[in-house]
């Protein structure tokens, strides 16, 4: 990994094809830079994320996981926000059982035009992770 990247935490982002992917793509288009160790896996809906995937990411070495959630814009229905929240809550409990700091999992609703919000979120998360894990 390059010299510059030593200053970046490894963050796995779960984004959604219709809602948060366009925002993350647009962040690139607008050259809104964020750490290059932020990697995205695209899925249809944020309420389809399995807690086991998140725990696996920590196990393999990711510092943080960020869920770029559909929020109220979800094309599959209004229950997405609540269900994604439940997944985060359940995963937080599992993380506590495994002595993983629950704040290493963050979620925010990222709509299709929320490029600046996404960049702000992952930059802030990167700073938090560097401070708590790599200080």
């Amino acid at each position: 990994m390059g010299e510059l990247n030593k200053k970046s935490a490894k963050i796995l982002v779960f984004s959604t094809e219709k809602i948060s992917d366009p925002a993350i793509d647009m962040a690139g288009l607008l050259k809104l830079h964020y750490p290059p160790t932020v990697y995205t896996i695209s899925i249809p809906c944020s309420s389809g994320i399995k807690p086991s995937w998140i725990l696996y990411a920590y196990e393999k070495g990711f510092d943080g996981v960020f869920i770029a959630a559909d929020g109220s814009d979800c094309i599959y229905g209004e229950t997405c926000t609540e269900k994604t929240g439940n997944i985060v809550g359940k995963t937080h409990n599992l993380m506590k059982e495994k002595n993983i700091d629950p704040s290493r999992l963050r979620m925010a609703a990222i709509c299709s035009v929320c490029s600046e919000s996404f960049v702000k979120q992952v930059r802030g998360f990167n700073e938090y992770l560097l401070k708590t894990l790599h200080a």
Partner: protein, 574 residues
Amino acid sequence: MNKKKRIGVYICHCGGNISDYVDVEKVRQAVDGGDAEIVVMAKTTMFACSDANQREMVEDIKANNLDGVIVSSCSPKLHMLTFRNVTERADLNKFTYVHANIREQASWAHSDNKIGATEKAIHLVKAAIAKSRYADALETNKIKATKTVAVIGAGVAGMKAALSLAEKDTEVILIEKENHVGGRVAEWGSLFSSTETGKEIIDRLYAEIVRHKNITLMTNTEVFENKGSVGNIAIKVRTITEGTEKLTEYTVGSVLMATGYDHYTPKEGEYGYGSTPKVITLPEFKNMIDNQSGKLMHNGAEIKNIAYIYCVGSRQSEGENTYCSRNCCTSTIHAAVTAKQKFSGITNYHFTRGLRTYGKQEILYADSLRAGDIYLQFYEDGIPTVTNEGKKTLVKVNDVLTNNREIEVEADLVVLVTGMVPRANSTIGTLFKLPKGRDNFFNEVHMKLRPVETVIDGVTIAGACQGPKNITESVNSALSAATKSYSILSKGELETDPLVATIDPEKCTWCGACEAACPFDAILKIDNGKKIIAEINNSVCKGCGMCAPVCEPDAINLIACSSPEIMSMIDALV
């Protein structure tokens, strides 16, 4: 799930969009022959989407007997379909294709860090290879699509789009928030290269629209809610007439956005605007010359000397509007030529930043020069000044065409050539979550290859809501957007990806949690002869995956997003 053995990988330069920041050869070397040697071929290509490369891909797939293909290039929003079609042409099932986005999410996002961008691109391509190993051959699903299009905005673009769709036997709901149709064009009098006025063009289109059985025109109406997705979008509209509010609901298959633009309003004091009535904007000037005859009068005085200051509110290197408004040079010269022909004794002084009368519009510039108009030029660091001395208004500039000689014009009227800006009211864009570009106009998927589509499936854009356009260009884009919206719905059904949930009957113990989680009633409770288990109704399942995380025995996986796929991608990314 059959793991692949022979995968081909292409890494695109995208001209320099990717390779200026990502070392594409290093990416190629990092993946070639890798992943237990299942990558049997890895190539870099200048433009993966070019016809030549697509032909080469078909040959490669056949020659190397590939069972999986990955292109690492731009966003899948742009070319996923292109490359799925390439694999089909090579007799591979299109769902075996996997895309890696190393432009928007690597080269552009990390253009400040080439090493980091390259490292990230390598990881992204490796994750795509991991995913590709699980990408099975599938058949598409089909859903019914409503053959109705909502056209939002009844300016010239919206009106032409509505007529074009209606002629293709498609129902159109034409929605206009004002109490009249025609938008900006209805404001214009004489037009360049047309014998009709703007108002006459709109009157003609309006007559055709009200006669057409396939068009429902709704003025004083705004969309306030939308739900659903391409093929079946439920919209609610509010119509207010004489203080009475009426709510109506429609289901449409596509939405064509043609909401136009606003005129730039100069700031108080910008080139003397607001300090003297002698300083007006281009739309105000056009209105003056269209509606007056005999002598050209303004504020009680006859107008002889007119100074036009170009690029007001456009091409601002430090302001909000860095773009060129395209139509204002031609529009100004047309107004100046018209004024000179219509009123006696007019002298036109054009203070320009370089003229952009492209294409046939150059004819008008030549006419203006022949008529004796005077052209002066300035750069942004030496803009003209407008000062009032007693009753005189003086425009002064250091003219770059005469070696920066200071030239002063006493103007009876100063016309600020104001450009187009995005609509101040962005409610409709927010409602449909339409992305905007750096100029704040609505953004297309690709300027050249998908110029009227947006990232929101089924929503197309036309006219000046997308960026400055003249009438011809607006109508061109309107006809293009209408055809695109029509092409989505013309068959009455849409093909959707068969990416549905699957149940492992061995693991399932029927607890009912998946049934409760599914918003589409796609979970059936069945007896498979051994026990009671859940089964997916594939014709109803939308592939959201909401059922998967609630399944305690982990019996549910989504096709293309199964746990083995996601975990193998995590392995590759870390």
